[in-house]
């Protein structure tokens, strides 16, 4: 195997065969080493949250990864491959470049199936919202759909003040029954205040830059289309398999879906709704 080992000879056969073998071993070893070094660097540079989202997103069902432009009818069928980050999506840029800035402006809240979505804020696909405040900070909270779904959680874990959150990174977590789910942050910045009191759960985030890019967040008319699809997906999951599909006869959504349908597979449903694979 080596020149100093008994039986080795400098023949073409030996050189070619062992040369290929050692090359293969070197390639395998080097590739593993590169992976380890890259992983170490990614951890040092705090890319773990972005990588987690990239990984989770690819594992989400296609029905969850629907493009926002499907909600507005611009596409019949389109799956997002960009981690819901429209800021770097060429198709989104192309579709929105001809729209006037005010074309989507609606001032009155949208009501879909009894869920109220105020239009003074922007919505993230993971059911959080962002609202700018006069102080320059941004308030981040749970939308009405998520609030109805969870009801009163058994436990909630808010980030410590000073924590840096990233778009599509974990913002805070909640536990309900046997399920634990994290909420995704809709923007980058530092957590400067939190609340889990009577005003509901929210964070206040101070962005690192004065102007923030919110192109990835839902707004205006598309919110209604999105919420409609979300509710349809939820309904499909809540169907009693023994009865099958039923036709709703009006009314308003219950406050705590989990408590109202205790025997459903909430682990899966919450994962689908809050985008956790």
């Amino acid at each position: 195997m080596f020149p100093w080992v008994y039986g080795f000879s400098w023949t073409i056969g030996n050189i070619v065969f062992l040369g290929i073998f050692f090359s293969i071993v070197t390639i395998i070893g080097t590739t593993v080493l590169i992976s380890l070094l890259r992983a170490y660097r990614a951890m040092q540079e705090h890319h773990a949250e972005a990588i987690r989202w990239e990984s989770e997103f690819q594992d989400l069902p296609i029905s969850v990864r629907r493009c926002r432009h499907v909600f507005t009818g611009e596409f019949k069928q389109r799956t997002c491959d960009n981690g819901f980050d429209c800021r770097s999506c060429a198709t989104h840029a192309q579709l929105t470049q001809h729209k006037t800035t005010n074309s989507d402006d609606i001032e009155v809240p949208i009501h879909v199936y009894g869920f109220t979505m105020p239009m003074d804020r922007l919505y993230h696909r993971g059911h959080t919202w962002v609202m700018s405040e006069a102080t320059g900070t941004y308030k981040v909270g749970l939308d009405d759909f998520a609030a109805h779904l969870i009801g009163t959680p058994d436990g909630i874990e808010l980030p410590k003040l000073g924590t840096h959150v990233q778009v599509n990174g974990s913002a805070w977590c909640f536990k309900k029954g046997n399920s634990a789910v994290r909420f995704l942050s809709p923007l980058d910045g530092e957590v400067v205040a939190t609340s889990d009191g009577s005003e509901g759960w929210y964070l206040k985030i101070q962005p690192q830059t004065k102007k923030i890019d919110t192109r990835h967040l839902l707004r205006g008319r598309e919110v209604a289309g999105w919420l409609l699809r979300e509710f349809e997906r939820l309904q499909a999951k809540l169907v009693d398999p023994k009865i099958g599909v039923t036709l709703a006869d009006g009314g308003t959504p219950v406050i705590d879906f989990i408590q109202s349908y205790p025997d459903r597979n909430w682990d899966t449903i919450l994962g689908d709704v809050f985008l956790e694979a």
Partner: protein, 410 residues
């Protein structure tokens, strides 16, 4: 109890039922471990092999599982090199099956060597003129590659991926998986070929000896192509079996059909080459060595029916079924054809290993029959049990079929 370890969106049987499922396989594995212990402590006299019949059930098992495990390298090659994205649905399962097959084969080889503590001799003092040396080097390297490819699948376990460092390493390793796919293809090409080649060079065994193309006998190429044809069929069958046993749709029909089509295309090519090779052997190679081909088939149990079954019944017919779109779309036909194709490869490896050694070649030789000892059978079954245990655990706790969550929600 173990729900937190099971992927979100999929359901698995209760831990109690799972324990009951694992019990018989565990017993089989323990029995096999005892047989291995006997072979290693008391020696290879525990087997029914001897100097005349040195390749027995174990080598046959090695050749067979390595051929069936070819689905791992070939699926990886199609997905990562040829960009057949549809096969992403089965790649994790293919890697696990490949790992089981190769680690099982290497495990049995260690017992077969008789002194596994000296296994490193083959690396330290390689005989570069032996095809077996190439096989040993390639299989060892490829097992390492399969183990590395298995790592990202394990690291994506629901519990393990909560550790950021694990997830990040998985992500970075997966980004370079194309390198391992390419290395795996290169290694598989040579060890599958060399496994065939080592029979083809046996000039003292005219039943197996074949003329050379370049520096390799034709069996070198036939083994590569047959393994590439059988591999996707075995992936198809194992997926269908897992689906049947778990009562779940694991992949879409299109994935099954694609595996069938790929397999059919290679299988028909293989049958053509195998037929040409066999005709040359009957009419030229064998007579030139002083044997009529018919003389090899006059022994009871080893008649020409084996050749017919291998090439026509389990080669040509499944290839035609798999290439016919209408029949391929019929699941029962697809499974039948895939099963036949796998049986064909199993017969081929049997013929090359057992029949080759059983046939007499010298005037004073007699036809030898060989029946494996219970220790050999128990070791053989232990590999099966090991495979079932590893695959069952992987199926329960890892995401072997990424489409399952989507299909379960429909």
């Amino acid at each position: 109890m173990d729900k937190q370890y099971i992927a979100r969106g999929v359901s698995r049987m209760s831990i109690k039922k799972f324990g009951l499922w694992m019990l018989p396989w565990s017993i089989m594995l323990i029995l096999g471990a005892y047989a291995v212990y006997l072979c290693l402590i008391k020696g290879l006299n525990q087997t029914n092999m001897d100097n005349r019949f040195a390749f027995g059930l174990w080598i046959y098992l090695d050749l067979t599982v390595i051929a069936l495990g070819a689905g791992a390298f070939f699926t990886g090659f199609l997905l990562y090199i040829l960009k057949k994205k549809e096969l992403k649905a089965v790649i994790n399962s293919a890697v696990v099956i490949g790992f089981i097959c190769y680690s099982g084969a290497v495990g049995v080889l260690m017992v077969d060597v008789g002194q596994p503590l000296r296994a490193w001799f083959t690396f330290w003092h390689p005989n570069v003129h032996s095809m077996l040396t190439e096989v040993t080097f390639c299989i060892t390297c490829y097992l390492l590659v399969l183990a590395i490819e298995y790592v990202p699948v394990i690291l994506k376990n629901r519990k393990i991926k909560q550790f950021s460092s694990m997830l990040v390493f998985e992500h970075e390793l997966h980004k370079l998986i194309i390198v391992f796919a390419a290395v795996g293809t290169f290694l598989s090409f040579f060890h599958q070929g060399s496994l065939g080649g080592l029979y083809g060079v046996l000039i003292g065994r005219p039943f197996a000896f074949r003329p050379a193309l370049g520096i390799w006998p034709t069996t070198f190429f036939l083994f590569i192509i047959s393994a590439a044809a059988a591999g996707p069929c075995f992936i198809l069958l194992t997926t269908a079996l897992a689906s049947k046993l778990s009562h779940k749709h694991l992949v879409t029909k299109e994935v099954y059909q694609m595996l069938g089509k790929i397999s059919g295309s290679i299988l028909i090519f293989y049958v053509l080459l195998k037929t040409i090779d066999t005709l040359i052997w009957i009419n030229s190679t064998s007579p030139s060595l002083g044997f009529s081909a018919a003389s090899f088939y006059k022994f009871s149990g080893f008649g020409t029916w084996i050749m017919f079954t291998e090439i026509v019944l389990c080669g040509l017919i499944p290839a035609l079924i798999l290439l016919n779109k209408k029949m391929r779309m019929h699941f029962a036909w697809l499974i039948t054809a895939a099963s036949l194709a796998c049986v064909g490869i199993v017969i081929n490896r049997f013929v090359m290993t057992i029949q080759t050694l059983a046939l007499p070649t010298l005037p004073f030789d007699q036809f030898l029959s060989y029946v494996p000892s219970w220790q050999e059978v128990a070791t053989f079954l232990a590999v099966l049990a090991y495979g079932m245990l590893v695959y069952s655990l992987s199926f329960r706790y890892l995401t072997l079929f990424p489409q399952e969550r989507e299909l379960e929600s429909l």
